[in-house]
């Protein structure tokens, strides 16, 4: 549906150059919710604006619904933009006008008849559950209601794609959740492909099918949400995942762990949905020569399923620990050995390949 290939964009500001995008390639499939996450200034807005040609790449190509955008101008560009709705962080509504007027604007631009406009506006307002605010002025609405109007406006022309530039960043957590639910409905009930950008990992966690992580103008990691959350590779990704899923050992447990004089290892186990069918932790407890302490646990909803993280302190002889690890790996749970640096009190993960037999 949206295919951005090797796109680069540099802004020239006086004497400095800002490489907003560097060789970015993403491919958004029809019908999915694709999220791009990154810190401020990573180039997310620049990237999303390529899709409706509010921005043009210096090099690289942008294809939307099979159409290469580089040659689009005038009427054809307008026609394409009508197939792409856009929702903004600051809503960008006409504050002094009514909800009805705002939502009807894209239809007025298409020269639809008043009767048609009346009907369509009523439909989309009902969809976003704002029918009763039809004649209210936008300035009288709350942030969440304003964003609903923004979404209704974006939906008015029956678009195939919805672009959301930080659609929930100006809202409180509860309102954020209700707007995210609405976006999910837009996707599921209307079959609209959604490309959204955010710096809140929670947004990705709750509604996205796939995610790309951006840093300094590059996409550093990309994949299905379950995979990226389960096995984040890059440091930025891990930091983002950590903002919603606590996979750390609570500091208060450090001393308990350290006080253990016997031979032990710290293992982090992740279970996603029902990929693991056996009671792994219960079985570990029953293994001879092995003692299990749970020193960290977190359960969070993830894309309609559940991801649970456990941090275990496994105590036993080297051989018992090794066979326990083998057992965990065979069960399908995602395992990662951890080390605590007692000097700095930091936890480091030991990459699977670099595990020494002893820990």
């Amino acid at each position: 549906m949206i295919r951005i290939t090797e796109a680069s964009k540099t802004f020239h500001e006086k004497s400095t150059e800002v490489h907003a995008l560097q060789n970015v390639t993403i491919h958004v499939q029809k019908g999915e919710i694709y999220g791009i996450v990154g810190f401020s200034g990573a180039g997310k807005s620049t990237l999303i604006r390529l899709v409706n040609r509010l921005e043009t790449p210096d090099t690289g190509t942008v294809e939307v619904a099979g159409q290469n955008l580089s040659s689009l101008k005038g009427k054809k560009l307008s026609a394409l933009r009508r197939k792409i709705g856009m929702v903004f962080q600051q809503f960008n509504l006409l504050d002094g006008k009514t909800v009805f007027h705002n939502v009807s604007l894209p239809l007025i631009l298409e020269h639809r008849s008043p009767a048609e406009i009346e009907k369509r506006v009523a439909e989309v307002l009902a969809f976003v559950e704002l029918s009763d605010k039809r004649d209210a002025y936008v300035s009288q609405l709350s942030g969440g209601q304003k964003q609903r109007v923004g979404i209704a406006r974006a939906l008015a022309t029956n678009p195939e794609i919805l672009l959301c530039d930080e659609a929930t960043s100006a809202l409180d957590p509860q309102t954020t959740e209700s707007i995210l639910k609405l976006l999910k409905r837009v996707n599921r009930e209307m079959g609209i492909t959604i490309l959204l950008i955010t710096h809140q990992m929670q947004v990705i966690q709750l509604i996205c099918d796939r995610v790309a992580v951006m840093e300094k103008g590059r996409v550093v990691e990309e994949g299905p949400v379950l995979e990226v959350f389960g096995r984040p590779k890059e440091e930025v990704t891990k930091r983002f995942v950590r903002t919603v899923i606590n996979d750390q050992v609570p500091e208060t447990f450090y001393d308990t762990i350290r006080a253990e004089s016997r031979h032990y290892r710290l293992e982090q186990l992740k279970f996603i949905g029902d990929t693991v069918n056996e009671p792994v932790i219960a079985n570990l407890c029953r293994r001879p020569g092995l003692e299990v302490n749970i020193v960290g646990a977190n359960i969070s909803p993830l894309q309609g399923t559940i991801m649970s993280v456990f941090i275990l302190q496994l105590i036993g002889e080297t051989e018992a620990l090794r066979s326990a690890e083998e057992y965990i790996d065979a069960s399908g749970a995602l395992r990662q050995r951890l080390m605590i640096d007692w000097e700095s009190r930091n936890i480091t993960e030991i990459p699977a390949g670099k595990e020494r037999t002893d820990g």
């Binding site: 560009l77 960008n92 509504l93 406006r153």
Partner: protein
């Protein structure tokens, strides 16, 4: 009625006084109307072709530079000087330099760049986000102007026009002196030169009343337009 018009107030006939008021309204009214049309066109060119403007890159940059320079140059010439300098032009266009209609030429030439600057400031109040949303909806340039840029800034533009109208009133007094008629002319030729102090005071009161009226109307209309923001 005739009796009243022929009766005198501070040494001049009422008909004369009312006629002068009419001339002033004529000059300010038409001057403001034509000046607003021209000023708005100039302001739109400035706003749309400036750096980061909606049409930046689609229209040649010289257009911005030319309009910007024109506005600056005309605005730096004091009105009295402009008035006499362009008399040949006025004669060319109107056939004469005498009368309220002829006075419109220098008045419009003077006020349109002034209004252009004021309106430019108003138009710049439209948040870039609104224009971005308009573009994202597929609006063409005329639609952007008509449905987004103008409605968003109308209240502020009315205030700008109010300020412009008051400036125009002042300029019309000067234009009147060199042949345009109006209240300003009355003040200077009958009040000042014939040392008719009561008449002078009366005309000043009238001018003050005009300013008050303009300011009141402008404020009220603008307030109404901004009622729901």
């Amino acid at each position: 009625m005739d009796e009243f018009l022929n009766s005198k107030i501070f040494g001049i006939k009422w008909s004369r006084l009312l006629n002068s008021c009419g001339q002033t309204l004529y000059m300010v009214g038409w001057g403001l109307l034509i000046g607003t049309v021209l000023g708005l066109i100039l302001a739109l060119i400035l706003v749309l072709t400036r750096k980061g403007g909606v049409l930046q890159g689609r229209l040649p940059r010289v257009l911005y530079l030319v309009v910007n320079t024109y506005v600056n140059v005309i605005r730096s010439v004091p009105f009295v000087i402009l008035l006499v300098t362009i008399m040949p032009l006025t004669r060319l266009i109107m056939g004469t330099t005498i009368g309220s209609t002829a006075a419109l030429v220098p008045l419009v030439l003077y006020i349109s760049p002034y209004l252009a600057r004021l309106l430019e400031n108003s138009l710049l109040e439209c948040s870039p986000g609104i224009l971005e949303a308009a573009q994202a909806m597929g609006a063409n340039i005329w639609q952007i102007i008509r449905y987004f840029l103008m409605p968003e800034t109308l209240g502020s533009m009315v205030l700008a026009l109010t300020t412009g109208a008051i400036g125009l009133l002042g300029a019309s007094a000067m234009a009147g002196y060199v042949g345009g008629g109006g209240v300003g002319d009355l003040t200077l030729t009958y009040g000042y030169e014939k040392m008719n102090t009561p008449l002078m005071i009366l005309t000043v009161v009238i001018l003050v009343a005009f300013v008050q009226l303009i300011q009141f109307l402008g404020g009220a209309i603008s307030g109404k337009l901004r009622a729901h923001r």
